[in-house]
């Protein structure tokens, strides 16, 4: 064989090896995959936790119903009416057990408030307490809710955000809620899909951020135009208006959106979360936007917000942001940001973002780098919600991702029609009349939720098929709460046009934990915005009391830390929104601590 022939064969082999490379990589991964144990005890031993689905067993039978909208958009009703299933957690009756509120989205359907009976069961008392009937014709339908003590009376009040009129209920402490929608000063009509409580000016009163998705001029039951869709798939400029509402301290709110610099652009905001990201003592805002880039608003001494998305690195590549979750993923005392997007094999590979503070990041200039790919938490699917939480109490934040858009007729697919339209010019994409009819077709449906377990050594691995929780409904919203008060975070997953699922989390006894329920005095009583820093050896972990996060959800108010097998921690530092700093030395582990802000600190 001559030299030329050998070279030819080598080139052909090189070419074939290139074509076979992805399949070889996949095969390698499947060889590495572990065999899943048969029983849940072995699973707990290996992974540290197991999720038992207990919804009906504990009395939770709620089923979400999607809305039927104007007949002008009937042909794509299923994709537009694909939002509204949500869950938010609060200890409504202050008995120490978390309760939760679920929203419904068809006219005439009731929302549910499941009150924790303390014996492992729940009873829906929304109707008796006056918070069930909010989906009345002409007022719009529920999209989500968040709890916060707006009048600092020690009882959690409720905002229900809607496509329609926003609703505000005061918790009167006697098992009843008083509706104060008309007098509160909330927007008359907007198509809101996210809300978060924050005390942006640290005046001790909780303020409210509301994020608009569709334009506020749109009334989905009385459409005057079909030009309601985004004007671009990646750079849409016709989304709904956002609102920042300042709490006046008398159960009314004032719109301060413009004067605080939050009215600059009209993105399609789907999720929001707030925390003090730069250590300034003031709460910042992170917004996940569909059809565009995500935004990071840095609070300037409680007076204005500056959009630092681009300079911090997170606001450059447009994707389909749907959820924001904050957490100290690297155990470095700084919060990272997890934002979910869309990854659909062969059609659209956006990947989720895990924005981790870079080494150069400082309080003066935040800088994040996307480590989702490096850590293995990038390729989800249609990820509506992604929640950072420690599921196995090993001290490392894991990730639960709720996947799935519209599950309809199996083995059908709307993606082709979708790509036809959204790749076109703005005048085509903006008009719902130009969108092909769905005709009952599935659109990224029947997708399984993912659970990425953090090994603490820089890698996450997907374990949902082993540990339970591999739900294939169109999941939207996830809330974490220690429902049975046994020291582990249980999960509530709200599903679009489907039943809610509650998962009891069985955690390995080998791992310890500690939690802190805070109550503000000079600060807002819900203590939203307070930072808890856990310090042990040379390590630290930070968590912030949240006023709502991920997609349309709010988890328990108490901050929960897994401790692995540590028998003690050095100290805990609590920084209250008022600026007071409190230190607790050597707190007892496996205990839920109730901490009140020191008076006059």
């Amino acid at each position: 064989m001559n030299k030329q022939r050998i070279i030819q064969i080598a080139v052909i082999l090189f070419f074939i090896s290139l074509l076979l490379a992805p399949a070889a990589l996949k095969q390698l991964e499947s060889w590495r995959a572990e065999e899943i144990p048969d029983n849940s005890d072995e699973i707990v031993e290996r992974y540290g936790f197991y999720l038992d689905e207990v919804s009906e067993e504990i009395g939770v039978t709620f089923k979400h119903v999607r809305p039927e909208l104007d007949s002008k958009i009937e042909h794509i009703n299923d994709q537009i009416a694909s939002l509204g299933a949500s869950v938010s957690v609060a200890d409504v009756d202050n008995n120490g057990y978390p309760d939760f509120y679920l929203t419904n989205s068809e006219y005439g359907t009731a929302n549910a408030l499941y009150i924790n009976q303390g014996d492992g069961t729940f009873v829906d008392q929304a109707a008796e307490m006056g918070v069930a009937d909010v989906n009345r014709e002409g007022t719009g339908v529920s999209m989500g809710s968040v709890w916060g003590d707006i009048n600092n009376d020690g009882f959690e009040d409720l905002v229900v955000y809607k496509w329609g009129r926003q609703e505000l209920f005061l918790n009167d402490s006697a098992g009843q809620f008083t509706r104060i929608t008309e007098t509160a000063g909330l927007p008359d009509w907007m198509n809101a899909n996210t809300a978060v409580w924050l005390d942006y000016d640290n005046d001790g009163n909780l303020d409210l951020f509301l994020g608009g998705y569709y334009h506020e001029d749109i009334d989905f039951w009385n459409l005057t135009t079909t030009r309601i869709m985004p004007d671009s798939y990646e750079y849409a400029t016709n989304g709904g208006r956002n609102y920042l509402l300042k709490n006046n301290g008398d159960n009314t709110f004032t719109d301060v959106t413009e004067e605080t610099g939050l009215l600059e652009i009209r993105m399609w905001t789907l999720a929001s979360s707030s925390a003090d990201l730069n250590g300034s003592g003031y709460s910042d805002l992170v917004l996940a936007n569909d059809y565009g880039v995500d935004e990071l608003y840095i609070n300037q001494n409680g007076e204005r917000f500056i959009n630092a998305g681009e300079s911090a690195g997170i606001g450059f590549i447009p994707k389909s942001g749907m959820s924001v979750s904050l957490g100290d993923v690297m155990n470095q005392g700084q919060l990272s940001i997890y934002i979910t997007n869309i990854s659909e094999a062969g059609v659209l590979m956006q990947g989720n973002n895990l924005w981790v503070p870079s080494r150069r990041s400082s309080g003066d200039e935040l800088e994040f780098q996307n480590l989702a790919g490096n850590l293995g938490v990038e390729i989800g699917q249609w990820g509506y919600s992604g929640k950072l939480l420690d599921l196995n109490n090993d001290g490392n934040l894991d990730i639960y991702v709720a996947n799935g858009f519209v599950s309809d007729e199996p083995n059908t697919d709307y993606w082709y029609d979708y790509t036809k339209v959204v790749g076109g010019n703005r005048n085509v994409i903006i008009d719902a009349n130009n969108w092909p009819a769905m005709n009952g077709r599935t659109f990224s449906g029947y997708q399984s939720n993912k659970i990425w377990m953090n090994d603490g050594a820089g890698r996450f691995r997907e374990v949902s098929s082993a540990v339970g929780g591999a739900l294939d409904l169109d999941s939207r919203s996830i809330a974490a709460a220690d429902l049975d008060q046994n020291g582990s975070l249980d999960l509530i997953v709200a599903n679009q046009n489907g039943p809610v699922k509650v998962y009891q989390n069985r955690v390995s006894d080998a791992n310890n934990w500690i939690s802190f329920k805070l109550e503000g005095t000079a600060s807002n009583r819900s203590a939203i915005g307070a930072t808890v820093r856990l310090i042990w050896d040379d390590m630290q972990n930070i968590k912030e009391v949240s006023g709502g996060d991920a997609f349309s959800s709010q988890s328990q108010r108490a901050v929960h830390f897994g401790l692995e097998e540590k028998q003690s921690i050095d100290r805990v530092e609590i920084r209250w929104p008022s600026g007071a700093v409190q230190t607790i030395e050597n707190p007892e582990i496996n205990t839920k601590h109730r901490i009140t802000e020191p008076q006059g600190a």
Partner: protein, 281 residues
């Protein structure tokens, strides 16, 4: 302005060696599009594609011919892969670029490569790595003026290199077939014609299907090929293939080149026979 005037202006104003025309054009369009609405996921991914394309070309050409070659064609393939491949990962960019170039050295027919390299690379990635990568289809801005500028620059460039008829035949055929599809499926005509206004088609119709190395020579043949691509694309679209134009070019392109060669051979054979007959006489 007449074609001669435009050509004269281009030739007299700035003298661009022929082999650098395509690299400069695609770089200009990429920069304009990226600066106006940020079409690239990242410069690093684009750079990865360019590096792998040029490195593959360098190594394979040297190995096969024993010589080094000008890398402008590999640069164009790399930049095309960088624009067309969409993935949060880096390796699909590298793989697409390397496959594109390697296909030129392996899939050959009578001394010429059959497939448009980037078209082959993109189709290969769709088939072998669809769970890690996608191809530009719905991602990019929808700015009307940017779209006009890209079409205008692209069409003038095609006019200059005598390939305008290919794109025009394809566009006309696509619009007619969009109407046929609309009639057949019941979907709005605008929905059917919408892809043509998007970025994937700008790159496809202006640059990929007009590649001089992989198009037939006769004008009639070029028009017939463009029409055939649009026709096959219609059937692929009726079967809901998202990347129908890439598949259509992948199938029709090589067949057209082989047919052209066969016709050419037949003509040569005919000529030889008649020369032989004449010599016998």
């Amino acid at each position: 302005m007449s074609k001669a005037a435009v050509t004269g202006f281009l030739n007299n104003g700035i003298t661009v060696p022929k082999q650098y025309f395509a690299p400069l054009l695609i770089t200009g369009i990429l920069l304009a599009a990226h600066i106006s609405f940020g079409i690239l996921d990242s410069y690093q991914k684009l750079l990865t594609a360019i590096i792998f394309a040029t490195a593959t070309e360098l190594v394979l050409h040297r190995a096969v011919t024993g010589k080094f070659r000008n890398l402008s064609s590999a640069y164009v393939s790399g930049i095309s892969a960088g624009i067309l491949v969409r993935s949060p990962l880096f390796w699909p960019f590298a793989l697409c670029a390397a496959i594109s170039i390697a296909s030129k050295y392996v899939l050959r027919y009578k001394g010429r490569h059959l497939f448009n390299p980037t078209n082959f690379g993109v189709v290969a990635i769709i088939f072998i790595a669809s769970d890690s990568a996608a191809v530009l289809s719905i991602q990019w801005g929808n700015n009307m003026w940017a779209m006009f500028v890209i079409w205008a620059v692209g069409l003038i460039s095609l006019w200059k290199i005598n390939r305008l008829n290919i794109t025009m035949t394809y566009i006309l055929s696509f619009v007619i077939f969009a109407w046929v599809r609309s009639f057949y499926t019941g979907d709005p005509f605008l929905a059917e014609v919408a892809p043509l206004t998007g970025p994937m088609y700008q790159l496809f119709a202006l640059f990929m299907m007009t590649d001089p190395k992989t198009t037939v020579k006769s004008r009639m043949g070029q028009n017939a090929v463009a029409f055939s691509i649009a026709l096959l694309e219609m059937f692929l679209r009726l079967n809901e293939a998202v990347y129908a134009p890439f598949y259509a070019l992948f199938i029709v392109g090589p067949i057209a080149l082989i047919i052209e060669d066969q016709i050419h051979q037949r003509k040569l054979n005919g000529q030889s026979k008649s020369e032989l007959a004449q010599s016998r006489v």
